[in-house]
């Protein structure tokens, strides 16, 4: 539970185009540099100017891995800040920093027991320059003053942002920051919080998409193809910027179909290959996933889900695309589906997914979502050595004559065939999307129906599908985390909700409710036996089980039932596009326990 004055909880909000995100980002970085753990998230609409956007920061001396469930300080740049942010979310004892004159705010509804700080931000800014945007810097200066954060960090960030624009711009901004800062010192009582500010710290402050992209680069990514689509775009933007210096080709294509097929071509050619999109783009990619699988080309397909169906709620989150991932492409074929669970996890998963793709010569589908992909956190130090690059049975050297003929789809004991790539002498072969024999020759054209061809078909199907079983043995089985031997409840979640559930459990413990958590990351192949055992164990002990998902129908609950037969009776499902908060889960748990 977020905790008034023991943590910092700031939201800055206004119209799209007001520069809310960069101001928020600045504030978040100041918190991080002050030695705090930071969680930062955004709300916005599918519009470039106007609407109402916000940037929320939660900072603490402890780990914070979920959005705050209340606002302590609201920096309100627009009237709508009162309706959308203040009224529903301000806590008693909180502060609203606003500029009644500059933002023409009057008669707005105000939550009770909140202190209003009416700062003439625009006026202060106008004294320095006619640029309206400077107002934000005044606000940021004021905000950090209220929390006794160091002006020094703000100045530093101004330098980083504006040095390339020349001294004048830098100075004006620094003056604006100081103006806000001083104004607060002169006019306000500072916020009397219990957060310990430390000396400069250099924590990594990064988003879920960026961490995943970094992980891909750490996994030796050599090809990334994409087409912009919210909320997967940041993966592409990151790689477009950093890929070229890291040996990764980055190609924006004309649509997602061709993104996916480009990725298959690159994978076939021997590049560690990935692509990313969101729901609608993924729908277009599905045909290529089956293609990758039958030609046994390694490719990582990333799906960062947003509110569906169809174009749906492009700027809102949902875990609503699991069915689509499970049903992607026709026929039965091997593929892995793995859900990213945390920002930090993205870094390792990026590497792991490329290893799995290449070792098993299969497509690997990564499920993420807008919440996970787009929010930022300070993260623990990353271990760059942890996951070595593993390329499996990849042949890079000429195949000697005595080992000829080379059979690309050779039936081997483990179902994985040594893989030669173009450029390798002696490895020449045909890779085709039709059913084929060990040699890669089609059985669909001249031979389909011949007794011999029927056998080829059966063997190649068995070979390919066998990789799923093999892979399952390599994947870490799910573990139950508990804060008691005899917990009161088991909470089941998957993917992006790991941290949120975790925090909910910590909060519950504070009120004496002990809990366990089963969090699913490896979705296909699935540890059906282990999951069934775990669930039945809890059930047999009459410990209630709560499934938490951000979708309407409970898609993971359905998957679990399909794999284990286990019916998850209690589900907390949120499908309005907003983030699931620890407090809601806690309330649901309490409701469930009282009821039981």
């Amino acid at each position: 539970m977020s905790d008034l004055f023991n943590e910092i909880s700031i939201r800055i909000s206004g119209e799209n185009g007001d520069g809310i995100f960069s101001s928020g980002d600045t504030l978040a970085k100041i918190c991080s540099r002050s030695g705090l753990e930071v969680h930062a998230s955004r709300a916005y609409q599918s519009i470039i100017r106007g609407g109402h956007v916000s940037y929320s920061i939660r900072a603490s001396n402890q780990e914070v891995r979920a959005p705050a469930d209340y606002i302590e300080l609201l920096v309100a740049l627009r009237k709508d800040s009162f309706i959308v942010d203040a009224i529903p979310t301000m806590t008693k004892g909180g502060f609203i920093l606003f500029d009644s004159k500059g933002s023409r705010i009057k008669d707005e509804p105000i939550p009770s027991d909140v202190e209003l700080i009416d700062i003439p931000a625009l006026e202060l800014a106008r004294k320095l320059s006619p640029l309206k945007i400077l107002r934000n810097t005044v606000f940021v200066g004021a905000a950090i003053a209220l929390y006794s954060l160091k002006l020094e960090y703000l100045e530093e960030i101004i330098h980083e942002a504006f040095d390339r624009k020349g001294e004048e711009v830098v100075n004006i901004n620094i003056d604006a920051a100081r103006a806000g800062y001083e104004w607060v010192l002169q006019n306000c009582k500072l916020i009397d919080h219990n957060v310990k500010l430390k000396d400069r710290t250099e924590k990594v402050f990064i988003g879920g998409n960026e961490a995943l992209a970094l992980g891909l680069l750490a996994g030796g990514l050599q090809s990334y193809s994409w087409y912009p689509m919210t909320p997967a775009t940041p993966v592409g933007a990151f790689l477009a910027k950093y890929g070229p210096n890291a040996g990764c080709v980055v190609k924006q294509m004309e649509d997602e179909i061709n993104v996916a097929n480009f990725a298959v071509g690159a994978g076939f050619a021997g590049a560690r290959s990935a692509c990313a999109t969101s729901g609608g783009g993924f729908a277009l990619m599905t045909e290529a996933i089956g293609f990758a699988s039958i030609i046994e080309a390694p490719v990582v397909f990333i799906e960062v889900a947003r509110g569906g169906p169809s174009t749906g709620l492009p700027t809102k989150t949902e875990q609503g695309d699991l069915n689509q991932l499970l049903g992607a492409s026709q026929g039965d074929f091997p593929r892995a589906i793995i859900a990213q669970t945390t920002i930090e996890d993205g870094f390792y998963l990026g590497q792991e997914s490329l290893n799995i793709a290449e070792k098993y010569q299969i497509p690997v589908l990564i499920a993420s979502d807008l919440y996970l992909g787009e929010h930022f956190e300070t993260i623990p130090e990353l271990d760059f050595e942890k996951i070595p690059i593993e390329r499996g049975k990849l042949i890079l050297e000429e195949i000697p004559v005595e080992e000829q003929p080379y059979l690309r789809y050779k039936l081997t004991e483990d179902g994985i065939s040594p893989r030669a790539i173009p450029g390798v002498k002696g490895g020449e072969h045909d890779a085709g999307s039709d059913e084929h024999d060990e040699d890669g020759k089609l059985v669909s054209d001249r031979r389909a129906g011949f007794p011999e061809a029927i056998q080829v078909r059966i063997k190649q199907m068995n070979k390919r599908m066998g990789k799923m079983d093999l892979l399952l043995t390599e994947l870490p089985p799910p573990q139950v985390e508990s804060n008691a031997d005899h917990p009161d409840i088991l909470i089941v979640g998957w993917g992006s909700s790991y941290d949120v559930i975790n925090e909910a459990r910590a909060d519950l413990l504070k009120v004496g409710i002990k809990s366990s958590q089963l969090h699913l990351k490896y979705i296909l192949p699935f540890h059906a036996k282990e999951v069934k055992e775990i669930l039945e164990d809890f059930e047999s002990k009459q410990i209630p089980i709560l499934m938490v998902e951000a979708n309407y129908t409970g898609q993971m609950a359905r998957h679990i039932r399909a794999e284990t037969g286990f019916l998850l009776k209690h589900k907390y499902l949120r499908f309005d596009g907003e983030y699931i908060l620890p407090r809601e889960i806690g309330m649901e748990v309490k409701k469930l326990l009282n009821k039981e």
Binding site: V204, N261, G270, G432
Partner: protein, 296 residues
């Protein structure tokens, strides 16, 4: 990459593969023939060559020639080939497919491919019909043509692939005819040698389903541009030439621009590292840590 002639001359045998599955007399045999001949002429190495195709009768070609073959999805040969090419620009990548494959479902890949000018050769075996699915109208089927999908006659004017390729920015655009194998092989060699996206619209009769655009139809009409004063370096002239389709049909190189950089020559990764596949998958920890400096 056009490999230097090595000690051992490669011959047509080095490109042998299984027997084609096409109908006897199909125009696509000529393409296979030309492909093998110009591969030999240019002494391409089979292991450095990838023939990529979509789905269709024509798209079965990669199986009938040695080297690496990549028989993809209907309409997706070009993006797959682009993935291959950018992963490893050292490879010779030749793309083959049908008129349905390239101009219906695959038109996006084709025209964007033309625009971005990677060093690829793309041969469309244009038979003005969907062959493999047994006789439906294609984007190049003539007006009035009756097929299984147009029992009352086709009412959609056909595309002109040459005009489209030029409009999209292809830097090499040619028309050939399966009726003239030698001419085809010559043009194909030029196409492969061309640095950039080379498009060949090959008039390849479907002897089973298309009784209009037959070998004879083309024999009566085609004439060679090389034997005229056509200047393939002139874009405007090329465009006007592209409109010619009727009693006379020009074959040969309609347009070639030798003075543009390929995509690979400008790509920020490739200009730095060359083939990323040759370079290998690397985990450069220092570089990664350096990126993280932007995230503090």
């Amino acid at each position: 990459m056009v490999t230097e002639i090595t000690e051992l001359q490669l011959t047509i045998k080095d490109w042998a593969s299984i027997q084609p599955t096409w109908c006897p007399g199909c125009g696509d045999f000529a393409v296979l023939n030309a492909v093998k001949n110009s591969f030999v002429e240019l002494q391409l190495q089979p292991h450095e060559t990838v023939v990529v195709s979509g789905i269709g009768c024509s798209s079965n070609l990669p199986h009938f020639v040695a080297g690496y073959g990549l028989h993809t999805l209907h309409g997706r040969a070009i993006p797959v080939a682009e993935g291959v090419k950018l992963a490893n620009p050292d490879l010779n990548v030749v793309v083959t497919g049908g008129d349905g494959d390239g101009l219906a479902i695959g038109i996006g890949g084709f025209l964007h491919g033309a625009r971005r000018n990677m060093n690829l050769t793309y041969i469309v075996m244009d038979n003005a019909v969907y062959g493999l699915t047994v006789n439906q109208a294609s984007p190049t089927s003539g007006l009035g043509r009756k097929t299984r999908s147009t029992p009352y006659g086709n009412i959609e004017p056909p595309f002109n692939p040459i005009t489209l390729a030029l409009a999209a920015g292809a830097t090499f655009v040619a028309r050939t005819s399966s009726g003239d194998k030698n001419h085809f092989a010559e043009i194909l060699s030029e196409a492969i040698k061309h640095k950039g996206f080379a498009f060949i619209d090959d008039m390849s009769p479907c002897v089973t389903f298309n009784k209009v655009n037959t070998f004879d139809f083309f024999k009566e009409r085609v004439y060679k541009l090389e034997e005229t004063d056509h200047d393939p370096s002139n874009y405007q002239e090329a465009m006007l030439k592209s409109f010619e389709w009727g009693d006379k049909i020009p074959i040969g190189i309609i347009y070639q621009n030798k003075n543009v950089l390929t995509y690979e020559e400008q790509d920020p990764t490739i200009t730095k590292f060359g083939s990323v596949v040759r370079r290998g998958a690397e985990k450069d920890i220092d570089a990664l840590k350096n990126i993280l400096k932007d995230f503090v």
